[in-house]
């Protein structure tokens, strides 16, 4: 058995967390709350050490980029959410700026990969698979049209049922492939417990 305290701690933690499968219990809860405290601290520490401190030191003081104080001031308005209710509306400013910013990005960039895939639908028809592909694509796009699908029409009902089957085939494929990925995670833990900790294999 490996007696390194950190390995021991990790092994105990592994068993405690896995015990959730049996029942939520105090050992699990201990690691659960520890992890939350830890990652909350870590995100502060990382932003502080890897971003805020160097930026203030090198860019603001070093290169004299004092204009950074403007975004900083706007960013500080976020804290009005946890202060007095009278001021909490001020937080809307940084919120609306960053939402607007991301909207701009998605309006500009998101159509490009979409178009690239879309064009591929009719790029070549050398093989019967290409026809099947296009047909399935059309059916599924049609299925997700929300305003046309009046369930009363028989043809629409039939295509709807076929499309649902196609979607279910795909869901099954996803389930089948990813369950194996989950197994490999558990295998990784077994390897840790048996090889790195207990040194049995």
């Amino acid at each position: 058995m490996n007696m390194d305290p950190l390995i021991m701690l990790e092994a105990v933690g592994t068993i405690a967390v896995l015990s959730y499968v049996w029942k939520e219990n105090a050992a699990y809860r201990f690691f659960e709350f520890t992890a939350i405290g830890l990652v909350a601290a870590h995100s502060i520490v990382q932003t502080w050490n890897n971003y805020l401190k160097p930026t203030v030191r090198d860019r603001m003081i070093g290169d004299g980029e004092w204009y950074l104080l403007i975004p900083a001031a706007i960013g500080l308005l976020y804290y009005t959410r946890v202060m007095d209710k009278k001021f909490s509306w001020l937080a809307r400013y940084p919120i609306s700026i960053s939402i607007g910013y991301s909207i701009g990005y998605s309006l500009a960039y998101s159509p490009r990969p979409f178009l690239k895939e879309f064009r591929n639908n009719f790029a070549s028809f050398g093989h019967v698979n290409d026809y099947i592909f296009l047909l399935v694509w059309l059916l599924v796009v049609f299925y997700f049209i929300f305003t046309l699908m009046k369930k009363t029409k028989k043809t629409l009902r039939v295509t709807g049922a076929i499309t649902r089957c196609l979607i279910m085939i795909y869901m099954g494929v996803l389930f089948g492939t990813s369950i194996l990925g989950k197994f490999s995670r558990l295998l990784g833990r077994y390897q840790f417990l048996l090889r790195d900790w207990l040194r049995l294999i």
Binding site: V39, R112, R119, K150
Partner: protein
């Protein structure tokens, strides 16, 4: 070397158009944006003017939210809505607020405890406001409990372990999973099904859908998630945006069929494909 040559051949040079950046899809992307905005604008104006616009088909998952909140009330157990990884600017978050305000309003009306879990402290700021507003509209501003709007850092597994712990300890009778999810989707809904909660999922990540399908009672997938969120607002203007989206889908289908016909008529010409490559 074959594959590399093929890849090089497939990448035809992109022509530069005036003042626009010369990457593939710059112009066609711009056109897409403009067409979609135009369509949306058209249908919104139509809806505002009170013209008759198509109605949206019923989405079964939506009625289930009311049913689920009702059942939670009967059982005296809370309703919980969770979203982990979507940040302030993500489009999933915009949809999340629709569900949040709907479910919180219902919970306020039924006098049921409403728990919201999120992984972003920036989103939390908005969530609190949305839920508070919902309680205000339901006429019960005093029932809003800030401690039930919970944030903990979105790191995938710490977040999920805490969420799984909360599920077992608080035993909500109704669980709503909204937004994009990753690997934790194979644990959390199953934990919910172990405490026999009614579960409704509105999930945008296609890869995780099968796990929600296996464990949840209702699943809204792909475009349904956003359509439902807009539908929940019950405003005709919002419906207008969905009609616009459907028009765009019909347009896409038409282009695809046309492109296919051209390609079949003149094999290997890639006429349409290249035409759209600007």
């Amino acid at each position: 070397m074959d594959l590399m040559l093929l890849a090089a051949e497939a990448e035809a040079a992109v022509p530069k158009w005036g003042i626009f950046v010369d990457v593939e899809g710059a112009i066609s992307g711009l056109l897409t944006t403009l067409i979609l905005t135009g369509l949306t604008y058209y249908w919104i104006t139509a809806a505002r003017a009170g013209r008759n616009i198509p109605s949206i088909r019923r989405l079964p998952g939506l009625d289930a939210i009311t049913e689920a909140v009702g059942r939670a009330t009967e059982m005296g157990r809370p309703v919980m809505l969770a979203n982990r990884r979507d940040g302030l600017g993500d489009v999933e978050t915009f949809a999340l607020w629709g569900y949040l305000s709907h479910a919180a309003t219902l919970a306020a009306q039924y006098d049921t405890r409403f728990i919201n879990l999120t992984g972003s402290h920036l989103v939390l700021a908005v969530n609190e406001a949305v839920i508070q507003q919902a309680y205000l509209e339901a006429g019960r501003p005093d029932a809003f409990n800030q401690d039930d709007c919970r944030y903990f850092p979105s790191n995938q597994w710490p977040w999920s372990s805490h969420c799984a712990g909360i599920i077992m300890r608080e035993r909500p009778a109704a669980l709503l999973w909204v937004g994009s999810w990753s690997g934790e989707a194979s644990i959390l809904p199953e934990a919910g099904s172990q405490i026999e909660a009614i579960q409704i999922a509105a999930v945008t990540t296609t890869g995780q859908l099968p796990f929600f399908i296996a464990s949840c009672d209702y699943v809204l997938m792909s475009g349904e998630v956003y359509a439902a969120s807009a539908y929940l607002s019950k405003e005709p203007v919002m419906t207008g945006t969905i009609v616009a989206e459907d028009c765009a889908k019909l347009l896409l289908m038409a282009i695809a069929v046309l492109g296919a016909l051209v390609e079949i008529a003149r094999p290997a010409s890639q006429w349409m494909t290249n035409l759209l490559k600007f």
